[in-house]
Amino acid sequence: AQSVTQPDIHITVSEGASLELRCNYSYGATPYLFWYVQSPGQGLQLLLKYFSGDTLVQGIKGFEAEFKRSQSSFNLRKPSVHWSDAAEYFCAVAISSSNTGKLIFGQGTTLQVKP
């Protein structure tokens, strides 16, 4: 069965430091890949997506992610974290061969930013 793993449940970084959140997926073909952010008490906001083409994708708020087929990974990065980036981050996949639009989410990574 398809699955998404975010190995880091909780990450703490200092403001201004770089950030990398890991995401691995299990699927035979190339899925569609997404990163969402959830601030406390809020809905999910799309940060970026990968469907095909350039494996390095740029998103909003200065985030980027790189798709590595050989590692079945789609890690999220930001060169300099701001205190407002503290939130819950979710990696998700949609099965490209499916026509349902179903997103499979990882368990999320909580990002804490130290001043």
Binding site: Y32, F34, Y36, Q38, G41, Q42, G43, L44, Q45, L46, K49, E88, F90, A92, A94, I95, S96, S98, N99, T100, G101, K102, L103, I104, F105, Q107, G108
Partner: protein, 112 residues
């Protein structure tokens, strides 16, 4: 204007009651969804509708009944509420299947 809006934002109710959550999207999307987020923040799809037709029912108890009166609305009715139904329920929409989904603010349901 809010793209995907859900009402109510908070819902506290007693076990055994019946309740509904409403969802509307003004994005002109064809596909709408309900997701459930449990206490550990794990998100799982419940239902997916495309052009008012059900395309996913992810082994959800039949106490949960979605209704889509038109493409812009997908409501969730829950009968005989149980303690385990306490969660945050998110409505979402996408222009068509297999594209990014846009989420509402969520409805926090607490069953006491």
């Amino acid at each position: 204007d809010t793209a995907v809006s859900q009402t109510p934002k908070y819902l506290v109710t007693q076990m055994g009651n019946d309740k509904s959550i409403k969802c509307e999207q003004n994005l002109g999307h064809d596909t709408m969804y309900w997701y459930k987020q449990d206490s550990k923040k794990f998100l799982k799809i419940m239902f997916s509708y495309n052009n008012k037709e059900l395309i996913i029912n992810e082994t959800v108890p039949n106490r949960f009944s979605p209704k889509s009166p038109d493409k812009a609305h997908l409501n969730l009715h829950i009968n005989s509420l149980e303690l385990g139904d306490s969660a945050v329920y998110f409505c979402a929409s996408s222009p068509f299947t297999n594209t990014e989904a846009f989420f509402g603010q969520g409805t926090r349901l607490t069953v006491v």
